[in-house]
Structures are given as C-alpha cells and as structure tokens.
C-alpha cells in the first residue's frame, strides 16, 4: 500500500475522509444530542430509564421512525408526502375491519395487506403527481384530506376495540423479542433494508441524483417520473405498514388515528439531517430524528417543563438542525476550496 502513496492518492484519502466526516457528523450530531438529552433527564430523574419507560420510548419511536424512513425516500427526491398521517389512519382502520370480517387471518397476511393497501394509496399520490405535473406538496395536501375523508365515511363514528382483534395480534404490539419490542424490530428491519438499498443500488442512487439536480437527472437519461412515482409508492407502503402496527399497539381504532402526524414525520426527517431540497441525507438520520423527537416529548414532562413548551422545543430543535446543516456545509465548502488552492 505504501508504494501507491502518490500525491493523488493522498488527495483521494483526504477527500474521502472529508466526505465521510460530513456524513458521520450529521448522524453523530443527532446521536450526541440524544445521549445528552437522555443523560440530563436521567440525572434529573433516574426513573426516566426504567425498563417500562425505555420500552415505551422504543414503541413510540418505532412507528414514527417507519414513517420517517418512508418520508426520507420522498424528500431525498426533492418532494414531500403530506398524506402519510391519513394513510396510516386508513390502514389502521382497514386492519381492524379485516379482523372484524375474518378473525382467523394469519398476522403476516394482515401485515402484507397493510403494506399493499398503503402502496395502493401511494400509487394514487404518485399517479396524480406524474399525470397532473403538479408539485407533490399540493397533491399530497389534497390527498391528506381525501384519504382522511374516506376514513371518516368508512368509520361513520364507529370504533373498533381491542376485543374485536385477535389477542396474538395485540400481543405483537407490546411483546418483546430478545429484549427489543417487536415494533422496534420492524422499524430496524425497514431502516436497514431501505438504507442498504439507497446506498448500494443504482435506482437508489438515482433518487439522490433526481433530488440533487432534476434537470441534470433528465439529461442523464434517468427515468425521473418512474423513480419519483416509486418513491411515493414506497412511502405509502411504509405508512400502510405503520397503520397495521398502530392498530396492534393501541387496539382501539377510530377514524382519527394518526391525525396530524405528517408534520411530526417531516420534522423528524429534517431534524435527522435530510436536506428538504433533496439530494442529501440518510434514512438513518431520519430514524434518529424520529427517536429524538419521541424522547424529547417524553423527557420534557419528566424534567418538569410545562407541557405547553413541548412544541416550542421541537421547533427550536428543527431550527438548530437546519443551522447545524448550514454551518456544516459552509465548513465543508471552505475546506474543499482551501484544498483546491493548495493544489493550484
């Protein structure tokens, strides 16, 4: 290896380190903030870290994290999916209804049905965006209300209770395997699969390319429309999965499940370092953002902070994340510039 240590090789090494550091710092920064928050809260009140509390935290994070992973896929392509909360609601109610209709259905089948149902709703989003050539923000704002409206019509004020669903299914919502809640395992599997796909597959990298510079993506011959469509289907499918898990966790379902959660999801993604204008960031960051937001909501009451301040705290966190992002990209830009001038 020492034989190839030419000037260009060292330059390569330095650039790689720089890029890696930028990547690591993003995720690391959120991780540090999380550790700091947990430590401070624990010191203030050691009961914050009881087994039950940790489990609750993981359960709460899991569903938000799955939604955030789906949202990150869409945001990376310079789009946004505001309808995920409504898709979750519809999927959760559909899950309950399926069990009411045929209680004997195996759980894996129901999970797959939820995924497929969400994917169908995602297809509606993707199709409208592709056909109408309208910004995703507008289209999904529309479907947010449409899907929720369908949910209300379907439910007609009814409620599906835990008694209507098989106990095995409800156990899945609170049981643990190897110390981890099953819901968190779902989230980890989704996270690792999507993270690996985005990093190591052509079509995954093309999603980043589309978000980074849409005009260039078209000139490269990337099937932009198809990729963005697929991103919305994926986001919908994950929201559908989240709906099934929501049903399993809470057991009581009405048409209000997941109401307003879309903004929480977008916040998690942004806090997690995914650039809102696409092209950069990772699903790992988005998932960490989801855990951080959930932890903050749990920690503030423990710290004795007025619950009315919770939203403000989340807001400050978003602004801090954006500020960090700016400072970071400025620093990376500067060091790239200095490197270039030293080369001549």
């Amino acid at each position: 290896m020492t034989a190839v240590a030419s000037p260009s090789a060292t330059a390569t090494g330095r650039g790689a380190r720089l890029a890696r550091r930028a990547f690591v710092v993003r995720e690391l920064g959120i991780g540090l903030a999380l550790v700091l928050l947990v430590t401070v809260t624990y010191l203030a009140n050691p009961r914050f870290l009881t087994a039950q509390n940790i489990k609750d935290l993981l359960l709460g994070s899991a569903i938000l994290a799955i939604l955030a992973v789906g949202q990150a896929i869409v945001v990376i392509t310079r789009n946004v999916d505001l309808s995920v909360g409504s898709i979750l609601g519809l999927s959760a109610f559909a899950t309950g209804s399926v069990f009411v209709a045929s209680p004997g259905l195996p759980i894996p089948v129901v999970v797959l049905l939820g995924l497929a149902f969400g994917a169908v709703l995602g297809t509606v989003n993707g199709g409208l965006i592709a056909a109408a050539r309208v910004p995703a923000l507008v289209v999904t704002l529309g479907t947010l209300y449409v899907f929720r409206g369908v949910d209300y019509m379907w439910a007609q004020g009814r409620q599906i209770n835990a008694a209507d669903m098989p106990s095995g299914f409800l156990r899945m919502g609170s049981a643990a395997m190897a110390g981890l809640p099953v819901l968190a395992l779902f989230a980890v599997v989704v996270l690792v699969a999507v993270g690996y796909y985005l990093r190591h597959f052509r079509s995954g990298r093309e999603l980043y390319a589309i978000g980074s510079e849409p005009a260039a993506a078209r000139l490269y011959g990337i099937p932009t429309g198809r990729r963005v469509f697929a991103a919305f289907v994926a986001s919908g499918a994950l929201a559908g999965l989240a709906g099934v898990l929501h049903a399993a966790r809470f057991g009581t379902l009405d048409a209000n499940a997941g109401l307003g959660s879309e903004l929480n999801v977008v916040a998690a993604v942004v806090v997690g370092g995914v650039a809102i204008f696409g092209g950069s960031g990772s699903v790992y960051g988005a998932a960490l953002g989801a855990v951080l937001l959930t932890t903050i909501r749990a920690a503030l009451p423990v710290l004795g902070i007025n619950p009315f301040w919770q939203d403000a705290a989340v807001g400050v966190l978003i602004l801090a994340a954006i500020g960090l992002d700016r400072a970071l990209s400025a620093r990376v830009g500067r060091s790239l510039r200095e490197r270039k001038s030293s080369h001549g």
């Binding site: 190591h200 390319a209 200095e338 270039k340």
Partner: protein
C-alpha cells in the same frame, strides 16, 4: 456516420431551425459556427434527444433514428458536453461519471471500490488530478467540464457533441481538452464542435458548417476557409473592427485596492484603476480573478486589505455601499448572478434603480418601461417585447440587459467578469464598443477575461494573476500573448 436532413424545429411562433442539414463522419471533427440565436444550441439539443424535431430526419449509419429522449441518444452512442455542465452537486465526482451505469457486483449492488478506481483511471488518462470521492459541489466550471468529458470517454461515445466546451477554460485546459478530443477522433469517433473561437475551430476541425438565423449556410473543408470568410458568412456582412479601442486620457486614480487577501482564494492583491482606463485582469481559470472582483464589490468578505473609490474607503462585505460608491459588477455567470430569469426584460433592466425610478415609493409601470426602452435601444437589445421574461432572450442579448441594468446607474467603476463569454461576434463588438465608450466618459473599467485577443485588444494595462497572487502588471505597449501567458502560468517574476 450521422446525418441530419431537412430538420426544422419551432418553439411557439419562433422558428429556431429551418431545413437544416448536417453530416458527421467517423474520425472527423466538424466545426459548427454561427451567431448567437443561429440555432446551434437547438441543433445540439436535438442530437441530445432533449428536443424532438418537427420535421426532417436524423439517420445513424443510414438507418433512421428516433431520438425521443436523452436515454435513446446515449444508447445510439451520442454524448453531449454542454457549455454549462449539469452535474449533481450532492453526489461524488465518481457517481457523477457513472450515474445509471455504475459497475455492479453480486445481487446488482454497486461496486463502489471499482467505480472509484475506474474514475481515477479516467482522470489519469486525462492527465488531471481530481478526487473521485469529493462532492461535485464547489468544483470550478473547468473541473466540472472535465467530469463531463471523463463521462463521455467512459461511455466510449461514437459521436461526441461539444457545445462551446472551451468558453470557461484557460489555455492549458483547452490544450488538454483538445488532446483528448483528437485522440477520440483518431480512434474513429465523430466530433461536432460548436464554438465562437475561430482559432480553436480551425485547430481542431476538418470541416466547418456555418449557420445563420436557424438556417444552414455552408459546409466546407476547413482548409478552404479563412476567418474573415467565416465571419462574413455568419453575420452576412463584414465586421469592421472587433476591438474598437479608442485611446482615452487616463485621469486620476478611481479604484484603489491595497493588500487584499481572502484566505484560500487570493493573497495580497493590490492595484489601481484610473478614470478613463480599461484594466484587464488576466490569468488562468481558478487564479482568483473573479474572487477578487466579488470581494471588491462586497459580495464576499476579505480577511485583510482595503478598497477605496475616489479616495473613500469601502466597508468590507457591503454590496450596498459599493453600489452607492459607484461600483457596478457584471458577473461571470449571468444566468445565476446577473439576472432574475423569470422577470421581464424591463424589470431586470431597472432593478438597481427601482428606488430612483419610484414615484412616492411606488414603481409605476410607465417610468420603468420608458427607462428600459431607452436602454434597450442604446444597446440594441433584440427582444420580441420588453415585457418578455429574460430567459427567452439569447445569451448575447441577456448580457446586454445586464449591462444596461448597471450602465443606467451611471457607475464610476465598472467591473466586468468575462463580458463576452458565449456571445456571438457581432454582439461582442458592440459590448467592446460600449466599454470603450464608457472609459472615454471617465469610467474606470476592470475587465476579467480569459480570451487573450480580447485582453490584448481592449486593455490599457494588463494585470496577471497566478494562484491567487498578482504576478505581472504589463502596459499595453509591451503586452503580447507570450508575456501574459508566461505570467499567468507563473513562469515570470513579478514585473
């Protein structure tokens, strides 16, 4: 190899191409010249598959070719290098080269290590040092172009279309590009070379096609043509003087720069521009010339030094103060920095004077229109309507609007960065005439230019920068291509 017959294309009511023909042969470089708005770029975009022709046929090896998208053009072996490269800023250089066709390993996963190695190998072949892992964001235009060329080479393109690839390159980089292009051509590729620089067209091409007003004018072997003949065919008239530099009396110092330093960009830059003087700032791309201009104008802050206009010191990083002091900056990149592309011609032209033109704090359409019309006439801006958005104009006319916008503020110091880049020869002469006229009126003009003939033809004095430092200050009488190039490449001691 590739032939176009009777190709026409209209955008709305505007006919961009009318009955154009073109034939490219393997192993031959073909020059395409014409004024701005002659339809060269539209032709390039048809070859790239971006636009579909309204009429006419494109044939490859005698078989008709349907170019319904960039992917088809690429599949047919056509690779286009644009004047302004389009890369993905967030992705690595290696990914930019191989996007969509990254080397794969098992399970169709991307083989990152091989992709990086392949990119390094391409850069080694090109003789450049670029880090495949760094993001494309922050690369100079020259480096971005190299990434595009590396991409074309990696594709083994049979037909290489280059749309003014040298507009932003310095001499060394152009030589490197030409060496690479020649080797591709000698390997059997057909090259279509679109350029405004005749010396380059003649140096590279065997045959030259001239276009005018969207029509094909002529195609001849390069050996049968002269520059004068080409110019005559392009404009349909003789261009009398390309560089109408009038001698003007040099007055007192207007713009003084002392010890200006911005870490990583330039160091200890100091010079004076007098009223009535045109001073050129020459050097290779990346020498720090544009950065100096931006610092003077207050766009970027500097770390040390001072800037004075007529003896009054400007505060660091304060664009408003610079404008008040009478500095006007015509930036290098007119699309991003010079104009608001969506606004109308008249809005753009009156933007810096919107307060002066306002009546009681409100802008009235009438005053704006009158002021814009005056300037459009003086600079001979060709626009269908002044209320059209600026992006509908050709490059040369856009540059005129940028000029109009600043000239209307009656500046005392005019800084122009690559004023004629990508502009056709007729407009070029007009821009030069204008600069000369301004200097005659007592304005101090600082011109950044990569085109040596322009530098030598226009400037009273030539400052040369190399790697962020001023290396030479050459008076017009002693300036020659050689002395400037030597200083620009750092071979001469400071004069």
């Amino acid at each position: 190899m590739l032939s176009l017959e009777g190709v026409s294309k209209s955008f709305g009511a505007v006919a961009a191409l009318r009955d154009v023909r073109l034939e490219l042969f393997g192993g031959e470089a073909h020059g395409l010249v014409g004024e701005n708005g002659a339809g060269k770029s539209t032709l390039v975009k048809i070859l790239a598959g971006v636009h579909a022709p309204d009429a006419g046929t494109v044939a490859l090896d005698g078989h008709p070719l349907q170019l319904s998208g960039p992917a088809q053009a690429r599949a047919a072996g056509i690779e286009v290098i644009y004047q302004e490269p389009t890369l993905f800023p967030d992705l690595s250089v290696a990914e930019n080269i191989f996007m969509g066709r990254q080397p794969l390993r098992g399970l169709r996963r991307i083989d990152t290590a091989r992709m990086r190695a392949d990119a390094s190998e391409l850069f080694a072949r090109l003789g450049v040092r670029l880090d495949p892992d760094r993001p494309a964001r922050g690369l100079s235009i020259a480096d971005q172009q190299l990434v595009e060329i590396a991409k074309a080479i990696s594709l083994d393109a049979r037909i290489l279309v280059m749309d003014e690839p040298t507009a932003a390159l310095s001499g060394v980089e152009v030589d490197r590009l030409f060496a690479v292009t020649r080797s591709l051509r000698d390997a059997g590729a057909a090259v279509l070379f679109v350029s405004h620089r005749f010396d380059e067209v003649f140096a590279l091409c065997q045959r030259i096609t001239v276009m005018r007003d969207g029509r094909w004018v002529s195609t001849d072997p390069a050996d049968d043509l002269t520059v004068d003949e080409l110019v005559r065919r392009m404009v349909g008239r003789e261009v009398s003087a390309l560089y109408p530099k009038r001698d003007s009396t040099v007055g007192r110092p207007r713009l003084q720069v002392r010890g200006l330093t911005r870490h990583g960009s330039f160091t200890d830059v100091g010079f004076t521009v007098h009223s009535g003087e045109i001073v050129a700032l020459a050097g290779l791309v990346g020498a720090g010339r544009s950065e100096v201009c931006r610092a003077i104008f207050g766009v970027d802050r500097y770390d040390a030094g001072e800037v004075t206009v007529d003896g009054v010191r400007l505060s660091n990083g304060d664009t408003a103060a610079a404008i008040t002091a009478g500095i006007a900056l015509v930036p290098e990149d007119r699309r991003q920095q010079g104009l608001v592309m969506e606004l109308s011609v008249e809005r753009n032209a009156t933007l810096p004077r919107r307060w002066a033109l306002a009546v009681g704090g409100l802008l009235t359409g009438a005053t704006e229109r009158r002021a814009a019309a005056t300037w459009a006439q003086r600079l001979q801006v060709k626009a269908a309507r002044l209320s059209d958005p600026v992006h509908m104009l050709s490059g040369g006319n856009q540059q005129k609007v940028v000029l109009a916008k600043w000239l209307a503020t009656t500046p005392r110091v005019l800084i122009v960065d690559e004023p004629t880049r990508g502009i056709d020869i007729g407009t070029k002469a007009e821009v030069h005439r204008l600069m000369s006229q301004l200097a005659g009126d007592g304005v101090a003009v600082l011109m950044v230019s990569s085109e040596l003939p322009e530098v030598l033809g226009m400037a009273d004095r030539i400052l040369v920068m190399h790697e962020g430092r001023l290396t030479a200050d050459i008076p017009r009488a002693q300036a020659g291509e050689e002395s400037v190039m030597r200083a620009a490449t750092g071979q001469a001691a400071a004069a």
